[in-house]
């Protein structure tokens, strides 16, 4: 299981490193799918709702959203460069630092014995931070959306700690919300692309003091 989490963290680093939008999207998507499978791994006894949640997650995060973003990308027909505010190497280093810091923080915080071994907490924190880095260090709207996605993934990862304590209804609601959120973001990205004819957020600074 830790392997999977490690993989997820790896993907967030990939997202940080990749210089072209499609690959960023792909990284986010794969990460989403991996997380989707995690509940099945965690859950010792089989429960149909868990399966439903998992499948939902995988479909939404792995296919729906990436396709949405790709559509926007295609519509935008802009160059697919990421154009970072912060270079790839620094971002990577930051990401690495984030992972270490997250691990440290994870050790700081007391964990229940059954979670002591797992990478859940550090993994989630690390992913969250990577998401933040993407949000802050990229100019293209789409890459920011991916950042947001990765952020959400990190939180979802953390949510798995509580998977068998929080009622699944809440889980479902949360999942639904995240989906709709990214969906709405996708729409807005689409509209922005039409209005401004670009997805470069550096152009979106008409609202200022």
């Amino acid at each position: 299981m830790n392997l999977l989490i490690g993989l997820a963290m790896g993907f967030s680093l990939v997202a940080l490193a990749s210089s072209r939008l499609p690959s960023v999207i792909r990284a986010a998507a794969f990460q989403g799918m991996i997380l989707g499978t995690l509940p099945l791994v965690l859950e010792e006894k089989f429960h149909w709702l868990v399966v439903a949640v998992a499948i939902g997650t995988i479909t939404v995060k792995g296919f729906v959203i990436p396709n949405l973003l790709r559509r926007a990308l295609r519509a935008a027909n802009i160059d697919r460069e990421v154009e970072p505010l912060l270079g790839f190497v620094p971002s990577l280093l930051l990401g690495a630092a984030a992972i270490i810091g997250a691990a440290a923080l994870g050790n700081e915080l007391p964990l229940r014995p059954e979670h002591a071994k797992s990478l859940l907490v550090p993994g989630s924190f690390a992913t969250v931070v990577c998401g933040f880095i993407l949000l802050m260090a990229r100019t293209k709207a789409i890459s920011q959306v991916c950042g947001y996605l990765i952020l959400e993934n990190g939180i979802y990862l953390f949510g798995l700690l509580l998977i068998n304590s929080t009622p699944l209804l809440v889980e479902a609601g949360i999942l639904l919300d995240l989906t709709v959120a990214v969906f709405v973001i996708g729409i807005i990205v689409d509209r922005i692309q039409r209005e401004f004819d670009t997805l470069d957020t550096r152009k979106l600074t008409s609202l200022r003091e």
Binding site: L135, M136, T139, Q144, T201, R202, L204, R208, E209
Partner: protein, 651 residues
Amino acid sequence: MTPGWLLLIAGGGLVAGIFSAFKSPRVWLAATLTGAIASFSAAVWMLASGATWNWQPQFVIGGEALHLQLDGISAFFLILLSVLGGAATLYSSEYWTDKAHPASAPSGRAWWNGMLLNMGFVLLCANGLHFLIVWEIFTVCAYFLVTRERQRPAARAAGWLYLAASHVAMIFLFAFFALLAARTESWELGPMREHAELAPLFWLALVGFGIKAGIFPLHIWLPSAHANAPSHVSAIMSGMAIKMGIYGIVRFTGWLPTPDSAGWVVAALGVVSAVLGVAFALGQHDLKRLLAYHSVENIGIILIGLGFAMIAASHGNAAWGQLALAGALLHVWNHGLFKALLFLGAGSVLHATGTREMSRLGGLWRAMPWTASLFALGATAIAGLPPLNGFVSEWLVYLGLFDAVAAHGHAAFAAILAAVALGLTGALALACFVKVCGVVFLGLPRTEIAEHVHECGWRMRLPMLVLGAACVTIGLAPILFWPALATASAAWQPALTSANALSSAPLVTLGAFHLALATLVILAAIFLWQRVRQNGVSRAGTWDCGYAAPTPRMQYTAGSFAGIITGWFDWILRPQRHGHLPKGNFPAHADFTEHTPETVLENIVEPASSLVLRVSTAVRRLQHGRVQSYIFYLLLGLAALAILAVMGGAK
């Protein structure tokens, strides 16, 4: 017919005035005057009876039960409010007509009544919360009255300055009343001198009320506001509104304990305001602005008296304290009366000529004899000259100071300084009003606008007559008003008041002397007049020292008149002089202009505010529209929170 009913009528009249203000000016006039008369009689009743009217209905406003109280001090100020309010109301009915100001007159009447009403409530409220409410409402009403002529940028700027300053005052009063309520666990006001821990609150009150009163460094809003408001508004603002600040200080120094240094500080502020106020007044060329600075001066005189009363109260209630207090209180009335008279006079000059610039006026006495003579009366009074009221109050303050000196006590040296400063102030005020009367009313018209002028009608004249009569009455028969002073000072601090105070201030003799002086003066004038008639009069031009073609514009101007004295005060007045002096044997073009700015405003307040603005613009750059950094701010906030939470909090 008890005071309660009278006050009810007064309030009813003013409220009715508000509602009739838009539709029918006549009804408004009638209602407002009724209100003024009713409140006047109520106040007189209370002062005469010396009792205190209390009204505590179980009527809750903003969570506090209403409590109205009319005691000696309130009644004392309420009388002034009624007189000035009534006079200025009548005046405005001709001065600010619907015909001349269709846009601003009707709403102006409503604001006017609102202001009068709330001033009255300020005097009546015995509950901190309600005091704060009506205080602020009256301030806001005054703002809308000052900015009647919104289209004039000057008026807007003046109004803005006034509003800003008043809000600073408001903030201090917020703190004052909230602290008071927090310490005493009740909003109820009343004598609480035994709570020694309340003494420091005095400083908050001093600043809060001092801004409204126009004490020297805090007076920045006053000149422009008084100059740019319609004259009846200037009259009430200068005559009454700033006295509300004095009322606040008197009221709460009477009810609350004060720090030992309080009296000294108040007296010192008084000295500074008095001398510098008149110094600034001398530098002005704008008639109403000049009068406004004289308000600062007279507030200073009041504060000198009050300050020494406080010193006396904190040093075993020395007898001279009561004289100083009586002088201060009487000067509250006097300044209200003659300053209102002067502003109304200035108003009718403005009404007739359309300018406040003294250097463009002159020789107005021919066309407007009433205004001229009444203005001269007011000038004599404000210069503190016998036999008028201004002298009586200053004389009482002087007596207090001299007794303090003679007593060789703590206060003696301070009293010496104050007395000399008072003397200086008197002489300076005399100089200033010689200048005003001479330049505006005497001599020849300097410009053609000063030639074609008209005397004001009776509705503008009558109020001035009433005020002038009041000045004369207080001057000639001061003893009539002593009971009021005694009641008020007893309400301020019973311990300070002694029955035999009157013996140390022989008002009867003074009144008699004034009466004799007045009669003799008039007789002598008539006598000399007759004599001149008998000897025969021949007319000729003014002696021009042989210069062939004198023109009215060659008369001495206000600026050159005040030149010597303003020269002495250059260090604070900072006058800006521009011009070309005549050069060579055949000097061609030569000109000279002088302008005295508001030093405190332009050299202290404005730099400070521009600094704040620079900071603000610098901060606003952070909102530059890049969402990435917005998210970065979010993270920063998170980090700050984490640090805050962990430090001290976690184990």
